[in-house]
Symmetry: C2
Subunit: 148 residues, 2 copies
């Protein structure tokens, strides 16, 4: 598979694109750890929202069974009206499907939307907003820049 | 107060300095939201730790009373041996003092250490590791880059 280096400058420019696409209000940003943390941080600053939370998941890539994705450290969203879930890439979509399922059951009063930098068109779920289609393996700057 | 723009390149270089200073092992990274999120993300990737969690605080800067810092969305650290708490800057230190207090009470089995990018020498608590002294107001790239 080909690889694509994704620099901070790419990220900054794509984030400007993404914020232009996001056309619904939200009162909480929920970052899927680890991939969504930097994105969540930037969007929290941009929208001046102090409520930037994180959620953790463990997936078992070898089995591809949804019931083997574990979601934990779920923040208290019982006061939230509209939650923007953010992740770096919607690849298979399996993790986000389970995250959504768990959150909707636990917090039926809230709306949930998804924003990501990348979206692979073969994923089982489509983010409400994304910046780019993913066609190669992406080496994000937060993964590789400290190693160089 | 003078201002200093802190770019992504500054951050990347300081993070390389910081990782050279951190000389104790840890099994969990706990980012103080929002300021510590990007730092926590990068360190999680660098140390190949999937356990990158976030914690939230609300402070009341006008009163300066420690008992008015509220800590919430505390992740489950009952399995953790050593936790690295990360934040962008240790300024007054008030927030981190309360965070440490709450965590040590709730998870007495764990050790806690603090790493930050900046440390103001007048703070009431000193991080175990930091990259730079803060002498001016710092405009972090995650705050200003999307607004330009």
């Amino acid at each position: 598979m080909t690889k694509q280096y994704y620099s901070y400058e790419n990220f900054r420019d794509d984030l400007k694109t993404l914020t232009k696409k996001i056309d619904k209000p939200f009162d909480v940003i929920l970052a899927v750890s680890r991939g969504g943390l930097t994105l969540g941080h930037f969007l929290g600053e941009y929208y001046n929202l102090r409520e930037v939370y994180a959620i953790n998941t463990i997936g078992y890539d070898d089995t591809r069974k949804l019931d083997e994705v574990k979601v934990f450290n779920i923040p208290d969203l019982s006061h939230a009206k509209s939650v923007l879930i953010v992740d770096d890439i919607v690849d298979s979509g399996d993790t986000l499907i389970v995250v959504l399922q768990v959150l909707r059951e636990k917090f039926p009063q809230a709306e949930f939307h998804i924003a990501s930098l990348f979206y692979k068109f073969t994923a089982r779920i489509k983010p409400d907003w994304y910046a780019k289609e993913a066609t190669t393996w992406i080496d994000f700057f937060w993964v590789v820049d400290l190693k160089n």
